[in-house]
């Protein structure tokens, strides 16, 4: 188990390094630099001095410099936000995004799993058709539409929840729900397919022949195997949900990390682009490793191979 975990951590480090390298190449490849973005162009000497200060004339040096600092969790200054370091921006925005994302994933599991299971159990009935319809809607309606509809419904018409902002518990449900729906739909689909497969298995017949109640046959004997595909989806889904969604944050005015992703790229803010990408890929790698470790707990057939 420990060998497995260290192996995966090492692989994760290589992945993160590759992501960093690719992002860096793209950052230096796109035209423009952070100092040309402001309204008033800087005097030539000032720009010269800034470029020298941040190693921007020497990409090779910048590459290793930034990486070296990043390893010690120092992401340097942001080029667009005065007096803010990237550390401060991430420390400010990431917890907000992680909270919303965490709630969204919980909601997605709570919504998606029952829909998928009951769709499979009542295969071919109206319950199944209804669940398939909900799944289709959840996957195909973009979050800015669901977000706006939810805002109109709960914020404007019923006036039970604030229409935007951040700071109280009341600000949480709408963005979390909006963010969760596509994940919920995807989970429901995986769950339904997994369950349909699993219920065909001989060991389900064995369980029934043992006198296990149909409730337990579904939720104990079939569920544990059928949940495995959902589990492997949850790794990347968690990372994606917790690093923030630009759209959801825009619609609800949530000060999360998602908008920094987009704005940093638009502003050619190399430092912030690299640090947000590093934050995202690190989370992704960590969640995937966590899921893999969980997987070996749930499916004994894998732990044997993993040593």
């Amino acid at each position: 188990m420990i060998r497995f975990a260290t192996g995966r951590l090492l692989g994760g480090a290589i992945t993160i390094f590759s992501v960093y390298t690719l992002t860096f190449l793209m950052v230096i490849a796109i035209p423009g630099n952070p100092f040309q973005q402001s309204q008033h162009s800087l005097p030539a000497e000032v720009e010269q001095a800034l470029r020298a200060r941040y190693n921007m004339d020497n990409n090779w040096l910048y590459f290793w410099d930034f990486l070296g600092d990043a390893v010690t969790l120092d992401f340097g200054p942001s080029f667009t936000y005065n007096d803010w370091t990237c550390n401060q921006i991430i420390a400010d925005a990431l917890p907000v995004s992680m909270l919303i994302g965490f709630l969204a994933i919980i909601l997605a599991v709570l919504i998606g799993v029952p829909i998928g299971v009951y769709g499979a159990v009542k295969r071919g009935s109206w319950v199944d058709s209804a669940s398939l319809g909900v799944i289709l809607l959840g996957i195909s309606i973009p979050p800015f539409v669901t977000g706006s509809i939810l805002l109109l419904l709960f914020g404007v018409t019923m006036k039970v929840l604030p229409i935007g902002g951040w700071g109280t518990v009341a600000h949480l449900p709408l963005p979390a729900l909006t963010l969760s729906l596509p994940f919920a739909a995807y989970i429901a689909r995986l769950m339904r397919v997994g369950m349909l497969d699993d219920l065909q298995n001989d060991f389900i017949r064995t369980a029934i022949a043992k006198g296990v109640s149909s409730h337990l046959v579904i939720w104990k004997h079939a569920f544990k195997v059928a949940f495995l595909p959902v589990l492997s989806f949850l790794g990347p889904a968690c990372a994606q949900a917790m690093t923030g969604s630009f759209v959801v944050e825009k619609v609800f005015g949530v000060p999360g990390l998602g908008q920094h992703f987009v704005n940093a790229a638009l502003n050619r803010d190399a430092g912030l682009v690299l640090s947000t990408v590093l934050a995202f890929s690190t989370l992704l790698v960590l969640f995937n490793i966590a899921i893999d470790l969980l997987y070996t707990k749930l499916d004994p057939r894998i732990s044997g191979a993993a040593g």
């Binding site: 499979a120 159990v121 009542k122 295969r123 009935s125 349909l196 219920l199 065909q200 298995n201 001989d202 060991f203 389900i204 017949r205 064995t206 369980a207 029934i208 022949a209 043992k210 006198g211 296990v212 109640s213 149909s214 046959v217 579904i218 004997h221 079939a222 544990k224 195997v225 749930l298 499916d299 004994p300 057939r301 044997g304």
Partner: protein, 411 residues
């Protein structure tokens, strides 16, 4: 799909007492066999219409008796076996007709398992009737330990749990011949060999002292030496624990060794049944004779094994009349003898089984292919107290000679 196992949506019209009102209750209580399947007909709804893979099957298992149900693959043996505990998903399966009486408790009338409510059925499943399936590789849940799966059954039916149930599980594993049961109890199915898994399945089935064990081809998926061990195990357990055993198999060697009584099934119908020694010594259905000829004989050097020409027809295209007649040696012989004997329809010999030509055929051949006024399929006729056969031409069947003595050598 599992919803189909929950019959709760359907109202349960008959309870145990209603069922027996119009029957001789005293008969049912006093001499009723443990299991009594009467006129069971099972159909499947498919996209091309309804097919009936099991038709009018009657089968009895007495207390402490070992009954074998034999036939080729696709004869409806497993469907019959799974009907007993209502394991077939409905739909697509439909229990069209018949009753399956099970003498659950002493001194009370037998209950009809096809009509009983879900709760009673769950008590019977695993508690009074246990089942061992064909493929131990897939019949155990891969994500639960062997012990957990046995303990679950014990907890469901015995009302004990925790360490006591676990101790019982270990004891059961030891009883079915698993070495180091204290360790194996915590093994996952994939950590055991095929034979061990089947032993674990048997341990699970035995855990609640069932009155009847249904073993659905328990040795088919195993290699030959393991088959022998599993069979010996089943036999010794059956004797030790005084239970009845319904063994589904296609291996007549197995039948000869352990069955008291045998039912031969072909294309969804019982074609012959009787005391094992009688049926094997003197098989009176051409199908049974054919099956016996296919058993290799250890004391004879023969080149090729006999086979029955053709294959079992699919339920969507069962022949009319006797379902075996297109493959039947006797029918062919009768056709040949009548054709050469009196010249009738000599030139239509090749088409003699197509209905259009049947009018030109002698009465006996028409009967094989179409039946008589009363029924199309031949009824089971009594040959003697313990031997019944369903063949229109049973008086023309020639005895098979010394097959029975050889069948036993082919376990």
């Amino acid at each position: 799909m599992a919803a189909q196992f929950m019959d709760s949506s359907k109202p349960q019209i008959a309870n145990e007492h209603d069922l027996t009102e119009d029957m001789d209750v005293s008969y049912r209580v006093e001499q009723a066999p443990l299991l009594d399947i009467c006129g069971l007909t099972v159909s499947i709804e498919t996209q091309d219409g309804v097919i009936t893979p099991v038709e009018d099957v009657a089968l009895r298992v007495a207390r402490k008796q070992t009954v074998a149900l034999v036939g080729e693959s696709g004869c409806g043996k497993s469907i019959t076996a799974q009907s007993i505990l209502r394991l077939l998903p409905q739909p697509p399966f439909r229990m069209e007709k018949g009753e399956i009486f099970f003498a659950r408790l002493k001194d009370t009338p037998a209950i009809d398992l096809l009509k009983t409510n879900e709760r009673t059925l769950r008590e019977v499943r695993g508690g009074q009737i246990a089942m061992v399936f064909q493929d131990p590789m897939t019949s155990l849940n891969p994500v639960f330990r062997i012990g957990e799966q046995i303990v679950e059954t014990i907890e469901l039916h015995q009302g004990v749990s925790g360490q006591i149930a676990r101790a019982q599980a270990i004891e059961l594993l030891r009883r079915v011949g698993i070495a180091k049961p204290e360790q194996r109890v915590d093994a996952y199915p994939h950590e055991l060999s095929g034979g061990m898994r089947q032993r674990a399945m048997i341990a699970m089935a035995l855990s609640c002292h069932p009155k009847l064990l249904i073993a659905d081809e328990p040795t088919t998926a195993l290699d030959v030496t393991i088959q022998r061990q599993i069979l010996d195990l089943l036999r010794s357990i059956q004797i030790e624990s005084n239970m009845s055993l319904l063994l589904i198999t296609h291996n007549l060697g197995v039948v000869a060794e352990i069955a008291d009584y045998v039912y031969v099934m072909y294309a969804g119908r019982i074609v012959e049944h009787g005391d094992t020694t009688q049926v094997l010594a003197n098989p009176m259905h051409p199908y049974t004779q054919g099956l016996l000829r296919c058993v290799p004989k250890i004391n004879e050097k023969s080149g090729r094994l006999d086979t029955i020409p053709g294959t079992v027809p699919s339920p969507s295209s069962f022949p009319t009349g006797c379902r075996f007649h297109p493959r039947c040696e006797l029918t062919a012989r009768l056709a040949a003898s009548t054709a050469s004997g009196d010249g009738i329809s000599r030139d239509s010999d090749r088409d003699s089984r197509s209905p259009s030509n049947l009018e030109a055929q002698p009465a006996c051949l028409r009967r094989c292919a179409l039946g008589d006024e009363t029924s199309t399929a031949p009824p089971l006729r009594k040959l003697n107290t313990d031997h019944y056969v369903a063949c229109w031409e049973s008086e023309n069947v020639t005895p098979l000679g010394n097959s029975a003595s050889n069948a036993g050598t082919a376990g």
